[in-house]
Amino acid sequence: MRARSYLAAMVALSLILVGCGGNGGEADDTAAEPATTDPATTSGETGDDAAEPATEETPTADDASEGATDEEPAEASDEEPGGESDGEPIRVAIIPTLTGTFAAVGSEIVLAAELAVENANAAGGIDGREVELVQLESDGQPATTLSLVERALEDENAPFITGIISSAESLAIQDRVVEGDGIFLNTTSSADAILAACNERTFSTIPPNEQILNTIGELITESEAESFSIIVPDYATGREQAAGFAERAEAAGKTVNEPIFVPLGTTEYGPQIAQLQDQGADGLFSVLFGGDAIAFTQQAEQFGLLEQYTTLSGYNFVIELTFGAQGEAVEGYLGNFNYYAPVIDTPLNDEFVSTFEAANGAQPTFVAANVYNAFQSLFAGVEAAGSIEPEAVAEALRSTTFETILGPDQGFREGDQLFQRPEFGGQLVLADGGLAWEQLVTPTFEDTAPEMSCG
């Protein structure tokens, strides 16, 4: 019967679409992923003109390794570009997702990577080498990203991998990067498990969940609210964040209600809003992200829910990328930020902000800053190593300090390779007709970073 075959086909398609929609069942804090149906894989390309290969001959990873075996890790080099280096290009692969909920984050990654490469090449290259960008596009599925990492390592001769968005993807590719003799610069995934893996080739420029929650804990201690409701996306990291917040809020003497879990990509928040109204708390902690956060804010405002709270707080519930869409409804929000251009007062940040604004017409967000910071770190590692051999660069990154947009004497903690930087806490205020962060707390790295678990 034909009608039955149509039905069977549609059911099959529905299931396929559902399967495509998730994010490997696990997203990260920065890019909580609702159901999307994205292209399985589209291959990207090298970056802009400034990132053209220095030579027509494409070197192999083996060539690069052989050429660098005798070179010693060193202090950050003052050597002029074109000096003693073999001139082989530094090939960096970025593998973001450019559609679905990841689109805005992915787009920032690309802009920052292109700018970092352009600025480096405009300044004469790094250690006498041209920097080349290999852009590949993932659909956010860990399996897809893993295959693209393999392609970057084996076919594109790009041992330096960055711009991967979700924690699920990052966790999936860490070991493969080691096997392929590469380096993974983690800019966007903040699951604690990434650090706990103690992977010697993973360098994280983004603070982990625990550090972020510790900062939020400091904000909450001083907050007006006495009881909190919690709304989080229903996936493993979301649940961890809910538990982490509850622990800190209770330690600060607050009452915490049972968390409300919402499927990623929810369109209708009416039932959850009714539950939050019933809980009657005077504080809200939300871990909803991106489009979910915007839809929830709009609907909560229409229901008058937000008026119920003296303290509106969250974990990346409001970020610069959603300032415009969430607007005045979230004025007074207490939350964390990795980076906010106006609060970082360093020469390299001024240069970064001005060149980013000139190129893109907008201020860089924390996503762009973390990516740019990763590129600066990599460049410092190459200069210190005097080589593009990944082991030498990794060793240099672990053992040297360097200057980045966050200031002088920056570097990674040896062991879990976490960038030693603070996470900021602040409140959103209205300024010049839009939202802006007002910094309230700047806990030090030592006070808030998780203890190192790697031997």
């Binding site: 059911v11 529905s14 609702p34 159901a35 909920t101």
Partner: protein
């Protein structure tokens, strides 16, 4: 009461969107998986037009703009796809949807957008002893009004008769003198216009982003399949059922809310393989 209204409001939105999808399948036999992208463009165009004028102008012009898109779509694509295997067509339209997502990305960028409801519909209203957002009540009323108008038009007008006849049995209707291509032009224009209406109605309710089509596509497909492929009335009933099942699930058993509509899908297909509307000849 609030839970009932939540279910009906979401159902009304789905009803407007899925009725067009069902009509298009009923007449052309085309399962248009790009229907969600028309809804996405409805939201984006609504954002742009409302920004330049106001929400009410957008509410009128966006469905008209999308209807024109539908007329073009019918002439250059859907007419040629009619008669092909349903899975083949579904995959072609899915590919088109993915490409259209990039078009939206190119035009409006990757950052999520939002549209505020008009001043007249902001705030809350009292209804049967409950305070409920005025904009949601508007979506509810607008959704039912659109469906009532559509039902009347299909039942009372001459072209409505042709559409019903062609949806039931294209070949016989054609032999009796119904110009299927002409009727189809009207149906596709109407269906895409309805997708545009759903998009602008949803814009002050959801985040506007290039991926929003995929979030609404699966509920729409479930509704069309449960309703009975090609049946507008079946889709309308299924849409309301979907809204109620999902909101009830989210309230009573949150862990169950995500799969509740799929359980309903399986249950309906097991008990009634041709959907709520029953047997069709195709």
């Amino acid at each position: 009461m609030v839970h009932l209204l939540n279910g009906l409001t979401y159902g009304a939105l789905l009803m407007v969107l899925a009725s067009g999808l069902a009509m298009m399948y009923g007449l052309r036999g085309v399962m248009n998986l790009a229907h969600g992208t028309l809804y996405m463009f409805g939201a984006y165009l609504g954002y742009t037009v409302a920004g330049a004028t106001n929400f009410w102008v957008a509410l009128v012009t966006v469905p008209l703009l999308l209807a024109i898109v539908g007329l073009v779509l019918e002439r250059i694509a859907l007419r040629r796809l009619a008669g092909r295997e349903v899975l083949e067509v579904a995959l072609i339209t899915l590919g088109a949807a993915l490409m259209l997502e990039y078009v939206a990305l190119y035009i409006w960028g990757a950052v999520d957008l939002s549209l505020s409801p008009p001043e007249l519909l902001s705030g809350s209203s009292r209804l049967l002893g409950t305070t409920y957002p005025t904009y949601r009540l508007f979506v509810l009323v607008a959704g039912f009004a659109i469906m009532a108008g559509l039902a009347l038009w299909l039942q009372r007008s001459r072209i409505g008769l042709f559409i019903r006849a062609a949806s039931l049995d294209r070949e016989t209707a054609s032999m009796l003198g119904v110009n299927i291509d002409r009727v189809s032009l009207v149906v596709v224009g109407l269906a895409t216009g309805l997708a545009g209406a759903a998009g602008i109605l949803a814009a002050p309710y959801v985040a506007i982003n290039p991926g929003m089509w995929s979030e609404i596509l699966i509920p729409s497909l479930v509704v069309v399949v449960v309703g009975g492929l090609g049946s507008v009335a079946g889709a309308a009933i299924a849409a309301l059922g979907y809204g109620l099942v999902q909101t009830a699930g989210a309230t009573l058993v949150p862990e169950f809310s995500l799969i509740a509509p799929f359980v309903a899908l399986i249950a309906v297909l097991a008990l009634r393989p041709t959907g709520l509307a029953g047997q069709r000849v195709h």
